[in-house]
Amino acid sequence: MSWHDIVLQTLKRNDIRLVPYVPDRVLTTLIKNLHADPFFTTFPAAREEEAVGIVSGAWMGGMRGAVLMQTSGFATLANVLASLAIPYQIPLIMFVSERGTLGEFNYGQSLVCRTMRPVLDSLAMEHHTATRLDEFEFIVDRSIKQAITTQAPVALILSPLLTGGKVFDK
């Protein structure tokens, strides 16, 4: 199974139906497959913050969700993590396609990437960087279950080692 099949299947198995996103090239196939599967309600949001608001409301209404984004999208989230997801104890599940490392060609992306883990660590948030296909299902499934049972957000960072990332000639 490919990494994106694992994401889709694991979301389904954990009854995560609502998947708003702001796209990233690496997420293209995953997004296409989510749209094709009637189990999911998936749609673009204008901002990652907005997507976090939507899945937070849905969680409180009894529907599980997850947000897909790129590293630069994560960089817009410090305020909503610190003022909504964490203090209200909402199990926000985020998949972050990692740009800015392992062959980045855009200097700005590489700088944005460096802000991500310090922000996650400064809020003591659970986060994992997935690099290997053989561990991936375990990381995703366990992280989703932990987020829900401990009512705490989690960021799953999809490394180029897992996804292939984006390279200059694409």
Binding site: A45, R47, E50, I54, G57, M60, N79
Partner: protein, 204 residues
């Protein structure tokens, strides 16, 4: 520079946030959800009388409508109201297009337009003198967006929204008064009580 008084959109009656919020709450008979945005919208929602179906946002400026959209998608049989300030809405104008695309028919949005960031010192918003928020909503795809002419019209629009075929946005021009109460700032309890109110969880 243009000043707020030049804005032709601002020709409806100047009403009061607490009064309108109280009128809305008085109409609710079916455990409708109500999401209050940052600051004054949730203060007045609190002051209008706490209900388990009220959610009070203590930060995350601009997210009242996105949160309400999430609740509306999760519970299509429940009516969801959202109260947002004009300054807050400017933070997330894009969310209007998301809502228009998903078109939940159980969502009613109210924009409390005082033209200012009241709670931070009443500075005018960049939109105050030049923009018409209802026109922005219409252009974002929310065809069912209207200014309320006065209090009776507001109540009529609220009632109409309940049987509308798509989401409704109601713009209300309000005075520069601060919120009436102060929400108890206990986010975990706010969220937990709201989930009880939504029938998602039982109290411990």
């Amino acid at each position: 520079m243009n000043s707020a008084n030049d804005n032709p959109a601002r020709n409806t009656k100047v009403m009061n946030r607490f009064d309108l919020t109280s009128r809305l709450i008085a109409k609710l008979k079916n455990e409708e959800a109500v999401i209050g945005g940052i600051g004054n919208t949730n203060f007045d929602l609190w002051a209008a009388g706490h209900r388990p179906q009220n959610f009070y946002m203590l930060g995350s400026m601009g997210l009242a409508f996105p949160i309400a959209l999430g609740v509306a998608l999760a519970q299509p049989d429940r009516r969801v109201f959202a109260l947002e300030g004009d300054g807050s809405l400017l933070m997330q104008l894009g969310s209007l297009t998301t809502i228009a695309t998903l078109a939940p028919k159980n969502l009613t949005m109210v924009v409390m337009d005082n033209g200012i960031y009241q709670i931070t010192g009443a500075q005018p918003t960049p939109a105050a003198a030049v923009a018409d928020i209802v026109a922005i909503a219409v252009a974002s795809g929310l065809a069912n967006s209207t200014w309320a002419a006065d209090e009776d019209d507001f109540e009529r629009l609220i009632e109409q929204s309940i049987s509308a075929a798509g989401p409704t946005l109601i713009g209300v021009r309000i005075d520069d008064k601060p919120g009436t109460g102060t929400t108890r700032r206990d986010p975990v309890q706010i969220r937990e009580h709201f989930m009880h109110g939504m029938g998602v969880r039982e109290p411990l």
